[in-house]
Symmetry: C2
Subunit: 244 residues, 2 copies
Amino acid sequence: MKIDPDDKTDLSAQIAGAIREEIMAGRLIVDARLPSEAELADHFAVSRPTVREALKRLAAQSLIRTARGAFGGAFVNRLSYPEAYGQHITTSTLLLSMNRVSFDVACEARYALERACTPLAAERRTPDTLATMRAEIHRQAQPGLTDEAFCASDVTFHRALVDSAGNPVLSYQLAGAVEAMQPLMNMITFTARSREAILGLHTRIADALERHEAEATQAALGELESYTLTLGRDVMAARARPKG
Amino acid sequence: MKIDPDDKTDLSAQIAGAIREEIMAGRLIVDARLPSEAELADHFAVSRPTVREALKRLAAQSLIRTARGAFGGAFVNRLSYPEAYGQHITTSTLLLSMNRVSFDVACEARYALERACTPLAAERRTPDTLATMRAEIHRQAQPGLTDEAFCASDVTFHRALVDSAGNPVLSYQLAGAVEAMQPLMNMITFTARSREAILGLHTRIADALERHEAEATQAALGELESYTLTLGRDVMAARARPKG
DNA sequence: AGACATTTAAATGTCTGACAAATGAAAATT
DNA sequence: AATTTTCATTTGTCAGACATTTAAATGTCT
């Protein structure tokens, strides 16, 4: 585990990289204890603050956790699903919001991925995921709901749809696509009319899943994509026009 | 932008969280300059090393970049696709390797996602992505290839397939699924016989894409999934047996 | 006036040394 | 034996200092 003395980049970045390599290569396994900060400082011939900066970088990626006290220290962290979700959602959301990704492209990606889940979801949906979807449908029918709350409920509904596939890896991968769309969706003003249309499609999806009908689910999801695309395009077109 | 004085967690984590919030909420926009480390230390009533640890956490997530010199400082970073890819792949790979995710579950997720790309890929594949796929097929036919090199080539092939869909958001989301499978695939010993089978399916996929035939692509991909699953199960079964 | 060299202020990068706080093991005490 | 105390270890935080980098500002020469 060494660093390049000729490298111009930050020492803390180099050290973090070296340790990250060890973890990803499996040479540092889960729950293994790293040397103490003082020992690491000695090993890399740097000061303790520099080592600490490196460790904080790793902690930010949930690669390590630290504990104070006599037998504390930095330990290789078992990356949990919630931690991975958080990382993925943060990255996905910022990628979309910072790169002028068009509504169309984001929407296409999201629905393509969701469609990938429907055959599995129709087969494996549980009473639990169905109940979540029904509850969100009910919430979305409340007239007093703000647009933000409607969007948030929409996200919960779609996550339940994805979770129906019963594959945690799939859920993790989809989390980024679904959640990252929310800021874009939040730009849309949902009229009573559009809410009604979406609600109807959500109901069709839930019904089809309940009856284990993959094709019907797919069809309703396809219509939802088209409709969402229309709503989004209207908003984007209005924004693009001068004078607003 | 404040921190909770009652919070027990690290000050640097709190400060990083506060700044991250500002970025994700859009109150700190791309290329905006953060206050200098001294000013931040003053603002949060902490020392400069603590502020630096917070900034390193954000840098680890590519949320900020720093520059030295008179008009340097920390700037909100526009998250690029390559940076996002890297984050996603790191997280996905570790999630799979640290959580005893079964080969079946990972494989199912990966191929479900890839299938989501095939209709778009068949429609939009370019000479460029096709050329990449052909080149990798050619490489995979070399007899001297190690198992690791074969796997790496396989990843490149599948990424070209995903890129054929012409949707960068989709490519980004899929990168995690495809790359994270590689360590699991590396456990497999590819015999001449299995390489031949995979090669044949890869060729069928490339041919079908070239002819814009979505269904044929889908079918070949489905067979590849079944075959991969068989190979993986054999390996895992052998590993599970005592005495090896 | 314009081109080039020099200075300088501001910022990050790094180091040293120190103290506080937490933590679990070991020793001392009841 | 159970409980309390002590103690070494380790991370968390702070203060102050110096090194390095950078671009603007200044000075100098043609």
